[in-house]
């Protein structure tokens, strides 16, 4: 038994030029960013203002940065797969050997779902929800920071797998028996499992935090039916997190026990039941797609209403539809595997439920359309993303209903038709949503707007690129091409795959435009500077300065309506009030804490040690986490007080722009 468990020099794939190049580039990038930060002397600033910050706005921005970085990582996997499939026809094997290709599609799915879409959505919620609720922070600010840290730990472990060892080759769903020890003896599946277990705990913390925040801490007067729709959809998404993520944790725990201690949950021997894994996985997995898309629905609702200059059409039906989806998402899981061999009645039930869940979604689409109808629409970048979403998502939804018919699904199961379908709804729904939100709330977060021209270029590249990349996959699926093929012999597929690869190139142009947009905007920030309310907004986040102070609101707003801020602006237009001399009181804000960072540090150590069977190190990591939590529990001061004078000074400086 070696001191380093299974870890030795053979873990580093020196014979694989592509992997060595990629991981070398990654390490170089990380080292150069770190040394640049150190040389410039930014470390104390970053530590004080960001890493130890428990401010929900800062945490939200850090989540978003993580998501953007991982979008690049996941997208580079997509480029590899599309180019491989464009060339690997007939006699050609392409440039990626099967065991590498398998890692790439597994990493692509895992990263895009767990480490791109989830952090992006959670980042948006973190930044926006407390502001929209008109309060000063989340219910549990330090827990929020720990959740961020654990998400980052999962991301770090996944990226370490690129250089040290390997990643899972069992797909992003890791079905046993393939993912069991018998058929995946390497560390790949262990990287997958521990990275997701650790980040999953973080996600659960986020869920608990948001449910409590939304249900228990809202500004005075904000009853449930006065909450902005984004808060409603966030509530639904986080209820789903609380109810679904524990199932994933339990399922992965069972697979880990199978792999580490020879248990027989999902093995072929010992009367284990591999299909149980598939059921449990999708009992989490289907709610998960709504965890991703419901907040995006909320973003579209805010954007459509703001840029149409109208209240959202059918607010109550929107809320009802959201909560209906929240409940129904738990009774459709079996449609991911109609081919399991359940009876016709079981398949029939889940097919019908899947069609039923399309109804509230349809309600939402009509609500957005009727909000746009008759509105004075300003075609800014966020509304472009929203309109692009409506067209794209409806197509994706329709193909989903097609596959909800079990006999049709028997043909389409695991074909590229399915791949096209879920990219159609996840890119068209979630990604377009977070892009709309990113452009919409960026000025609130940083006090300057993103460049419109590059934003529009990026949108059109994404939209057109999406259609070129994924519409051919529908055809290929109907022609019989299955997913995850490193190589194929059917020559007639190749032209379609070449077209799809061209589509990826157009999306790449969209992503490059987004990077340019960010750089150009930062360079022109003085010119793009905005006040508190650049979009003529309707909800409370626009009522405070851009960027908002640490305490969000000097005085908690008094809410009397939906669209609280809009109504207030209208009232003030009618009766121009004299600026009354306001009295400010000292405000308590939560104290910074290194707990999140230190916990994350030890979580990475523990995870890495468990992956490589370095038991002593796993013990050190676990004790480290315990001691960190203990130190947090015994700290004496939890809050610092911002003196009334400082609050008053901030308010005076921003008087012109703050409306509350």
């Amino acid at each position: 038994m070696s001191l380093l468990g299974k870890l030795d020099w053979s873990a580093i794939p020196f014979d694989q030029p592509i992997i060595m190049g990629a991981s070398g580039g990654m390490i170089l990038a990380v080292v150069s960013v770190l040394s640049w930060v150190t040389l410039k002397g930014y470390v104390p600033y970053l530590w004080r203002e960001w890493i130890t910050s428990v401010d929900h706005k800062r945490i939200g921005i850090m989540y978003t940065v993580l998501a953007l970085v991982m979008l690049l990582r996941g997208f580079s996997d997509a480029i590899l797969m599309r180019t491989q499939q464009a060339v690997a026809a007939g006699g050609s094997q392409g440039y990626l050997p099967p065991e590498h290709f398998d890692q790439i599609f597994s990493a692509h799915g895992t990263i895009m779902i767990f480490f791109m879409a989830m952090p992006f959505v959670i980042g948006m919620m973190n930044f926006v929800v407390p502001l929209q609720l008109g309060v000063r922070d989340m219910a549990f600010p330090t827990l929020n920071s720990v959740a961020l840290g654990l998400t980052a730990s999962g991301i770090l472990l996944t990226n370490i797998s690129l250089a040290v060892g390997e990643f899972s080759k069992a797909g992003w769903v890791a079905y046993p028996p393939l993912s069991g020890l018998q058929f995946s003896p390497g560390v790949g599946v262990d990287y997958y499992l521990w990275a997701l277990q650790i980040s999953g705990v973080g996600t659960l913390m986020t869920g608990i935090n948001f449910v409590t925040t939304i249900l228990k801490t809202r500004a005075p007067g904000m009853s449930y039916m006065r909450m902005p729709v984004f808060c409603w959809t966030s509530l639904a998404a986080n209820l789903l997190i609380v109810a679904a993520f524990p199932v994933l944790t339990a399922t992965f725990a069972m697979l880990l026990l199978d792999r580490y201690l020879g248990f027989h949950f999902f093995t072929i021997g010992g009367q284990g039941n591999p299909m149980m894994y598939v059921n449990l996985f999708w009992i989490w997995g289907h709610p998960e797609v709504y965890i991703l898309v419901l907040p995006a629905f909320g973003i579209f609702s805010e954007v459509v209403s703001t840029f149409s200059g109208k209240p959202l059409f059918g607010y109550r039906s929107m809320v009802a539809a959201t909560m209906a989806i929240c409940v129904l998402s738990f009774v459709v899981w079996l449609h991911h595997f109609f081919t399991m061999g359940a009876s016709a009645n079981v398949n029939g039930f889940f097919g019908v439920m899947t069609m039923v869940i399309a109804v509230p979604t349809g309600v939402k689409v009509f609500n957005w359309l009727f909000t746009l109808y008759g509105g004075r629409i300003r075609f800014t970048v966020p509304i472009l993303w929203s309109i692009g979403f409506m067209v794209t998502f409806v197509i994706g939804g329709m193909t989903g209903v097609l596959m909800a018919v079990p006999p049709a699904d028997f043909q389409l199961h695991n074909s590229l038709f399915l791949i096209a379908h879920f990219h159609n709804v996840i890119i068209g729904g979630t990604v377009f949503g977070v892009m709309a939100g990113y452009n919409y709330w960026f000025p609130k977060a940083f006090g300057f707007q993103l460049d419109e021209r590059w934003g529009k270029i990026s949108f059109w590249c994404w939209l057109i690129g999406f259609y070129i990349a994924f519409m051919p996959l529908y055809g290929l699926g109907l022609m019989g091409m299955t997913r995850r093929m490193q190589h194929y012999d059917v020559a007639s597929w190749q032209p379609w795959l070449v077209v799809a690869a061209c589509g990826v190139a157009v999306i790449l142009a969209g992503i490059v435009s987004q990077i340019i947009q960010l750089v150009v905007s930062i360079r022109n920030r003085e010119h793009l500077k905005v006040t508190a309310d650049p979009w003529d907004g309707r909800t409370l986040e626009w009522a405070t300065a851009s960027p908002p102070p640490a305490w969000n609101f000097a005085v908690l707003p008094q809410v009397t309506d939906v669209d609280a801020f809009w109504k207030k602006k209208q009232r003030e237009r009618v009766q121009a009030q004299p600026a009354s001399e306001r009295k400010f009181e000292p405000i308590e804000v939560p104290k910074n804490s290194a707990t999140g960072f230190v916990t994350a540090f030890f979580a990475v150590i523990t995870g890495f040690a468990l992956i490589w069977h370095i038991w002593w190190m796993a013990g050190v990591g676990a004790i480290g986490i315990f001691v960190t939590v203990l130190a947090f529990a015994f700290r004496d001061e939890e809050e610092i007080e911002i003196p009334a004078e400082q609050v008053a000074r901030f308010e005076r400086e921003h008087e012109a722009e703050i409306a509350v």
Binding site: A139, T217, A219, G262, Q271, N273, L556
Partner: protein
């Protein structure tokens, strides 16, 4: 936790149209509400293990089944210990409410001893089963059994560690609001473990020996 700014208490209750418009709740409510949500999520996790157990309960792979392995007397004593510890935990909450240090420590000690006794009995049961070749590697049924019961046991262990930490906090920090809120969460946790055990007792042990 800055959100827990007290709403102007001068406003009378009749002036507030409804509870949902009252503004941010107090810290005590926020903390215990959040902990309730955590407990619900924990119970969802248990439900996944319960489901796995239900699916695999007959999958003995030619090995021993529950009828041959479970000793009802020992399990009855275990159950008695755990339920009694919930009672003493309740007494501890009352002692905390009336700020009595001595009785708080005494009740915590009783709770700890009963919880530890429960764990010892459970571990003895596990060791006995492993000794006769009925460990978790024997069959899918035993994998599910050890995981479900062991997961509850891990929770009890975590609860015992937490209880020790809380008594240290009471000793060092006294009954300040933070400590009281944590004690409230602890007692919720301890009672929730009882609820899970009642289910576990029914599904695993009672239904298991019925063959």
């Amino acid at each position: 936790m800055s959100v827990a700014v007290a709403v102007d208490d001068g406003v009378g209750h009749e002036a507030r149209p409804s509870a949902s418009e009252a503004g941010p709740a107090t810290k005590r409510i926020v903390v215990s509400y959040g902990f309730w949500i955590f407990l619900l999520s924990d119970i969802v996790m248990f439900s996944a293990f319960f489901a796995a157990y239900a699916v695999l309960a007959q999958a003995t792979a030619g090995g021993p089944s529950g009828v041959q392995l479970f000793h009802q007397r020992s399990v009855a004593i275990e159950t008695g210990c755990l339920l009694a510890s919930s009672y003493s935990c309740g007494l501890m909450s009352l002692a905390i409410g009336s700020r009595r240090y001595g009785i708080t420590y005494l009740d915590a000690l009783v709770t700890f001893v009963l919880g530890a006794a429960f764990l010892v009995l459970e571990l003895r049961e596990f060791a006995g089963m492993i000794a006769v070749g009925a460990g978790p590697q024997r069959s899918a049924f035993l994998s599910a059994f050890f995981t479900l019961v062991g997961c509850h046991g891990l929770h009890v262990t975590a609860g015992l560690v937490w209880l020790v930490v809380m008594m240290a906090q009471v000793a060092i920090k006294g009954f300040r609001p933070t400590v009281e809120r944590r004690l409230l969460c602890f007692s919720l946790f301890w009672h929730a473990l009882d609820i899970v055990w009642v289910w576990l007792f029914t599904v695993v042990y009672l239904m298991g020996v019925r063959s």
